[in-house]
Symmetry: C2
Subunit: 417 residues, 2 copies
């Protein structure tokens, strides 16, 4: 299979619009930017090489279809090409690359599918730019709340509507990207694990059972801005001093929960906005963003409740108003049992050490799973590092993932024996 190795190496670079994967600042392709567009253009070119029919839907997702019979059903695969700031070249890319490579591999061995096979390159999966994730797959599955999104701004004050329009989309038509349930038969996504379970257990392939969706809280502490030089220590209402203990509380409480619980939980104070954030002004207002995840929904909600209790105590103790807002609270998503079994079987048939596991991160497949039987394949990534310039998955792992997808497609879209 050395022709696939070379192809994977080449197309990994192409989809990342780069000539080397060793980039100190990693890759920055934020949603609806010209950088994301440039990657989509690479996707279309590779698809064209494979003789696939390509088009962009109303939401900006790129499709490449190996169409054998318009009246036959369609099996879809895919992931995304956008990244966070200074992210890695595998998160998202791995899924798009292996889907295209699976098609290439099947063509190379002369496979003739009896169903259509589609590769979807979802737009705007990462929440890095607008705080909203998986926009493309939400659009396809009718889960997009476009009205609520219209006014959301990025860090430069650009509204999402403007960004999508600038990308070449017609705001009024975006919701028309939604697919009827009979458009697809099933969907699979391959993704780098972004964790250390595969590496630690030595498994080569992970087949995901459930995806932990986050509870996200925004905590706002309001003190009193004042001059740092003239306001005595005992006369202050410093919002940062008041709320800072929460950062360590979240870390320590999460460690405690994991000592007791078999199902893991993670919790992070990942964002802060300090007002006015000036050297000579006491922080008058602080906003913290907290991300809490576990496939055990009760565990994560109890944790959020713990935070609320701690914050109420801080409010009394520090004499500062603190508000808690729930930004996101979704149930965890279970992958389809039958798809899980089929993918596990495909992986084991080839002889790969296969692990049934959960995902701590959300992916486009979450949205797809609401409408179609869906499966998620994990490949290892070095030291679990992701959203980071040193994110890394080996070509060997990408090839193994590709083979699982090929085997699955042969079973699902092959001539009945």
């Amino acid at each position: 299979m050395s022709n696939l190795t070379k192809w994977l190496e080449d197309k990994l670079l192409a989809l990342n619009v780069t000539d080397t994967m060793a980039r100190p600042d990693g890759f920055t392709r934020l949603s609806f930017t010209k950088e994301e567009k440039a990657a989509h253009i690479q996707f279309e070119q590779i698809a064209a090489e494979l003789g696939l029919k390509t088009y962009q839907d109303q939401a900006g997702n790129c499709w490449a279809v190996w169409e054998v019979d318009p009246s036959a059903s369609t099996i879809a695969m895919g992931s995304h090409l956008d990244t966070v700031d200074c992210g890695g070249g595998y998160d998202g890319v791995a899924g798009v690359l292996t889907a295209l490579t699976a098609v290439k591999g099947l063509q190379d061995i002369g496979f003739h599918p009896i169903k259509n096979i589609a590769v979807i390159c979802f737009i705007a999966e990462e929440s890095a730019r607008f705080g909203v994730s998986t926009i493309g797959s939400k659009a396809i599955t009718g889960q997009l709340k476009l009205k609520e999104m219209e006014a959301i701004k990025d860090r430069n004050g650009i509204k999402m509507k403007q960004a999508m329009t600038d990308y070449g989309l017609d705001w009024e038509s975006i919701e028309a990207a939604v697919l009827s349930l009979d458009s697809l038969e099933s969907f699979i996504e391959l993704h780098i694990e972004q964790g250390m379970e595969l590496q630690e257990t030595g498994a080569e392939i992970g087949i995901v059972k459930g995806i932990a969706c986050p509870v996200r809280l925004v905590i706002t502490a309001k003190g009193m801005a004042n001059h740092t030089g003239t306001t005595r220590m005992h006369q202050r209402q410093d919002a940062f001093v008041a709320i800072a203990p929460l950062v360590n509380f979240v870390q320590e409480e999460a460690l405690k929960v994991n000592e007791k619980s078999e199902v893991p939980l993670v919790a992070t104070v990942s964002t802060i906005r300090l007002h006015p954030n000036a050297m000579n002004v006491i922080p008058g207002e602080v906003e913290l963003g907290i991300d809490i995840r576990s496939v055990d929904d009760r565990l994560k909600r109890d944790f959020a409740e713990n935070i609320r209790t701690f914050v109420s105590e801080l409010e009394v103790k520090k004499q500062i108003r603190i508000g808690v807002k729930t930004l996101v609270d979704n149930d965890s998503v279970k992958m389809d049992n039958i798809m899980h079994a089929k993918l596990t079987q495909a992986s084991k048939t080839i002889g790969y050490e296969t692990l049934s596991m959960n995902s701590g991160a959300g992916h486009d497949v979450m949205n797809m799973a609401a409408n179609w039987p869906a499966g998620l394949i994990f490949i290892p990534c070095k030291d679990g590092l992701s959203h980071h310039p040193r994110e890394f998955a080996s070509i060997e792992s990408l090839e193994k993932g590709t083979k699982v997808m090929m085997t699955f497609l042969q079973q699902e879209a092959g001539e009945p024996i």
Copy 2:
């Protein structure tokens, strides 16, 4: 003196370019913006009403001179009209307003000075936009390091050179604003206290002995950015979790120092930059800005040393690299003893309860004091609140401040008896 009361009320609004002082969002006139320019234009108009000669120097400071004899010496007064974001309408304005009003008051009583009297409206006193303070008075006194400032950017990426050029200044000529030592005889500034000592002691006027200049540190903690959903709690190198205890350490240590020391010290973690500051990424890098002030230079330097020690301990304990950089470390500035005595006498002569005190905040007078005998008059501001929309000083206090300045000028620039 009711004509001065009305004048103060009117010109307070004029210099703030507003028709009401009750503005929920306060005043935002950042350095070198059209908002600062608009206030300077008001200054020139009021000065013209008083028949003063006005001009803008090469650095953008506005001058209004009651010129009686070009060969006579000049006594100067002044402050600034720029503000922080959402600041108050008295910080800076009070000094410019009372200086103009002192001239008006002297004209009204038919006073004929034998020396020239200048009112200076300094440009860009606040560090809110570029992190550099008192640019105008630094220019006049030859303390401006223009080369170092050229590339400093504001939050919108605009370089200081660009901002000054857009303001109408000629970059190459700015340093020519420096004055020879014989240009002025002395300088006084009036400012709101921005603290609570006058209010607490019931004093009507404060005469400042020394100004506490800050030690400013930047602390950088470098952990490892990673996905919040997939990185187990015990596998993390969260830079925010590592450095957060410093926020409360600074507050608690400063409280302790004040219990032991007669000279007060203030210390504040006032800025933060979290990278990447995204909901789904563990903070990989955190930068904290700390502002430490005391007129006792040893006290503030010992405090900075304490922070270094604590941070070294954190580094070992949390296994995260933490760097400490000294951004600013200037000696405190002593006001001229003779000027202090003269202003104190002027205030007591009128019968005001007068307090000899220190300033926790820096002002343009710090720079002026390096070249000329200089004095600083404080008037009370409500609850010490400053850099805040609810900053407030009464017209009565402004009038008392004006009278102190008038008395001083009568003594210094009157006909010898």
